[in-house]
């Protein structure tokens, strides 16, 4: 039992050392993504650009709609928070009645996201990313639909921070989330699913 525990700690220490090296390199270089080749970076930048342009267009819509609602300020009344979340979500849905999967994650950008996920889940780093998701209570047998609210009762699976460093930075209004093996883009304030990439994550995470 003792030996097993020691082995477990030793393997954790080795994994951590590897990740520390990667993370320190990223932090020390002032960049927020793990190192990639210049060629890869250029390709990613181009493929992510379309995605980011679409996200920006969405955020502009979000802002326009939000500005038509009474501004939400910190309140001691949870019903005000819920009412704002629901009203914003409803109005955005009405403004995008035909929203569907792929609206944000264009085909081109999906390839870049899939590549980033594939890189993340390789080798030692992949084991850690899997562990992060497992520790973050992954949602199994759950599917969410684009342009529908994220179910209030569902937890938010922890998104591996090193994966976030590989993805393009997002405006504050939206965030990446993981549901089962899908990556989703969520409007945080409206609690609304904006888009998703189906089965981007490897099985058994």
């Amino acid at each position: 039992m003792q030996t097993k525990r020691r082995l477990r700690h030793a393997s954790q220490a080795i994994l951590l050392a590897a990740v520390l090296l990667l993370a320190r390199a990223a932090i020390a270089s002032g960049q927020n993504a793990p190192p990639t080749s210049p060629k890869e970076e250029a390709k990613n930048a181009e493929e992510f650009k379309e995605f980011l342009d679409r996200v920006q267009a969405y955020v502009n819509l979000h802002k326009t709609i939000a500005s038509s609602l009474p501004a939400l300020k910190p309140t001691a009344l949870p019903e005000m928070i819920k009412a704002h979340e629901q009203a914003l979500g409803r109005k955005i849905r009405e403004a995008r009645p035909h929203a569907k999967r792929g609206d944000m994650f264009s085909e081109k950008s999906q390839a870049a996201f899939r590549r980033a996920v594939r890189d993340e889940f390789r080798g030692l780093q992949g084991r850690l990313a899997r562990k992060t998701i497992q520790q973050g209570e992954p949602l199994k047998e759950v599917h969410v639909r684009v342009n529908e609210p994220y179910a209030d009762s569902l937890p938010f699976t922890t998104v591996p921070p090193t994966l976030l460093l590989r993805f393009p930075k997002l405006p504050d209004q939206v965030a990446y989330r993981i549901v089962g093996r899908d990556l989703i883009l969520l409007d945080v304030e409206a609690n609304l699913v904006i888009d998703s990439i189906h089965e981007i994550f490897p099985p058994a995470i």
Binding site: R5, H9, Q12, L15, L16, V19, L20, L22, A23, R24, I27, N32, A33, L72, K73, P74, T75, A76, L77, P78, E79, I81, K82, H84, E85, L128, A129, K131, T132, Q135, G136, E137, D152, S153, P155, F156, T157, T158, V159, P160, P161, T162, L164, L165, K169, L170, A175, V188, E189, N191
Partner: protein, 289 residues
């Protein structure tokens, strides 16, 4: 060779007091910072209410001024009824007494909790606040993106040397909980910043147990994830554990005065689980060439 800001940490002393609840005494010094810590509490179940009642009773002897919340504040939904049942009612006596709560987000929390005034998040999922000689850094460990990392680095960089630096967030960097355990990936990104900028203590939840870790790289770590939830028997004490408890719900009370941090952990039944005095590490800059 570039200048290194590595710090040589030396603990002047660490001593723990094994005592019953009625034997441990907080110094209650004038100007000290007094607070409580709760994690994974927002179930709305009887156990949460009993812990809350115990906090109210304990406050008679130790008048803490605020409470830090280590995430999973509201389980299972974010309707007004949820806020009422899982926060407002159990902690009403504390709220009525003017005790402030400062929340961090767990994986069961709707990020829009940041708009809830009684959580004092001021619309942000990560933020900082200061009490006396203590600067608190509250992180969203469920979504640690580049923006948050940059923010943390800047905040720590800009902080003076004199204050205690305490970070708290949901996922523990070190934990011997069987269900979750240490968040190694998260640790790989933020621990280097904690070390570089002299964070003194870290509080987390997520594993539904109480654990005080042996100081790691000069930083004190606590897991307090059993203030509502409990996974009895989930703690597998290991080489990193200094003390652990997993057979009842708990909460912590802390007083910081000067370079000393007094803490006491009580169970739902009011028994002392752990207590002690931690001295702030003395940090000496490493010689540079």
């Amino acid at each position: 060779m570039r200048k290194t800001s590595a710090l040589l940490l030396s603990f002047v002393s660490i001593f723990f007091l094994a005592a019953r609840a009625d034997e441990f005494r907080f110094p209650l010094k004038s100007g000290s910072v007094r607070f409580a810590a709760i994690g994974d509490m927002g179930t709305g179940d009887t156990a949460q209410y009993e812990v809350a009642q115990r906090m109210v009773a304990a406050r008679q002897n130790f008048p803490f001024e605020f409470v830090i919340m280590l995430g999973d504040n509201i389980y299972g939904g974010s309707t007004p009824r949820d806020f009422e049942k899982k926060f407002e009612v159990p902690y009403k006596p504390l709220l009525d007494a003017g005790v402030k709560f400062y929340a961090s987000l767990g994986n069961h929390d709707n990020p829009n909790e940041r708009f809830y005034k009684l959580f004092n998040m001021n619309e942000a999922t990560y933020y900082t606040f200061k009490k006396g000689n203590v600067r608190f850094y509250v992180l969203d460990s469920n979504y640690l993106d580049a923006k948050q990392l940059d923010w943390l680095q800047k905040q720590l960089q800009d902080a003076g040397e004199g204050d205690w630096k305490i970070c708290y967030f949901h996922h523990p960097l070190y934990s011997s909980g069987k269900t979750h355990g240490s968040s190694i990936e998260l640790r790989s990104l933020i621990e280097p910043l904690f070390i570089k900028y002299g964070v003194d203590a870290v509080f987390s939840g997520h594993d539904h147990v109480y654990e005080r870790l042996k100081p790691e790289k000069g930083i004190y770590y606590f897991v307090e994830g059993s203030s509502g939830q409990l996974r009895a028997g989930d703690l597998v004490k290991s080489s990193i554990t200094d003390y652990g408890f997993d057979s009842d719900r708990t909460f912590m009370m802390i007083e910081i005065t000067g370079d000393e941090m007094y803490f006491q952990t009580l169970s739902r039944a009011g028994n002392q689980v752990d207590s002690g005095v931690l001295r702030r590490p003395v940090r000496t800059p490493a010689p540079t060439k």
